[in-house]
Symmetry: C2
Subunit: 123 residues, 2 copies
DNA sequence: AAAACAATTTAAAGATTATTTAATTGTTAA
DNA sequence: TTAACAATTAAATAATCTTTAAATTGTTTT
């Protein structure tokens, strides 16, 4: 058993619970997965797009117009958001419509965003 | 009044509520602020450090040992987390001790992280 | 005061990511 | 089937960020 109180792998011994904490630590895969999701919304352009798509369904050129970005840039971010499972798309004629995914993850992140906005910018 | 139903600034008119949504859109400052916070935890190294510091107080070399990083790298990430207000520090002798800030923001983000981990990695 | 330890800073390298422009694909309407 | 519009892709550039190695600062102990 590694990282227990006897093997004493840590340079210093401080807290009593620190080896228990290390044992409960999320795996690298979990860390990567969670940070991968949060990274999506850590970019202001994508956060703006995601917020918008939480509130209405829109086509690419409208998203570009609303967010002051070019279509290719929007397309790039939409692709990332979609492959993270945060948004979905459908085609109708010439246009692609995007909206926030109807999932626990997307809904939960939407709430988190509003909450952070309230806490950090209490206007 | 810009972006109302008459000025018709959008290339296409789709949803009925889209101009209402645009009017309610968070300011660029708010978007930057929220994405700035989320970006902190969008990096796997910082997420790991923050998770650890949500569960115990630790000194820099222990954090480095636990996360398999060098001290300078840890120091760099600690500085970013601290200037975002997510962690605090205190000196005791030669060592600097870090832990998660006791704020609504830090607590809320901790819950969000655990929630995302549960949703995306249901082990 | 010197030596040892802990942490930070700096500068540079390496890696990743965002944006732009141009070209291309897909769909509809003339 | 050609023209027009919407969206994506590709290549290149620009910008940002992470990590490393070396040097420096701060604190304690001998």
């Amino acid at each position: 058993m590694l990282n227990n109180e006897n093997s004493c792998a840590l340079p210093h011994k401080h807290a009593e619970n620190e080896y228990k904490v290390i044992n409960d630590m999320p795996s690298d895969d979990t860390i990567r997965s969670v940070s991968g999701i949060l990274k999506q919304l850590g970019d202001p352009s994508r956060l703006k797009i995601f917020w918008l798509l939480c509130h209405c369904e829109e086509c690419v050129i409208n998203i570009a117009a609303i967010t002051n970005m070019t279509s290719p840039a929007v397309s790039h971010h939409l692709r990332l958001l979609k492959s993270s499972g945060l948004i979905t798309s459908r085609r109708e004629g010439k246009e692609m419509y995007y909206k926030a995914a109807d999932t626990e993850m997307a809904n939960s992140l939407h709430l988190t965003i509003e909450s952070i906005a309230d806490i950090s910018c209490p206007n």
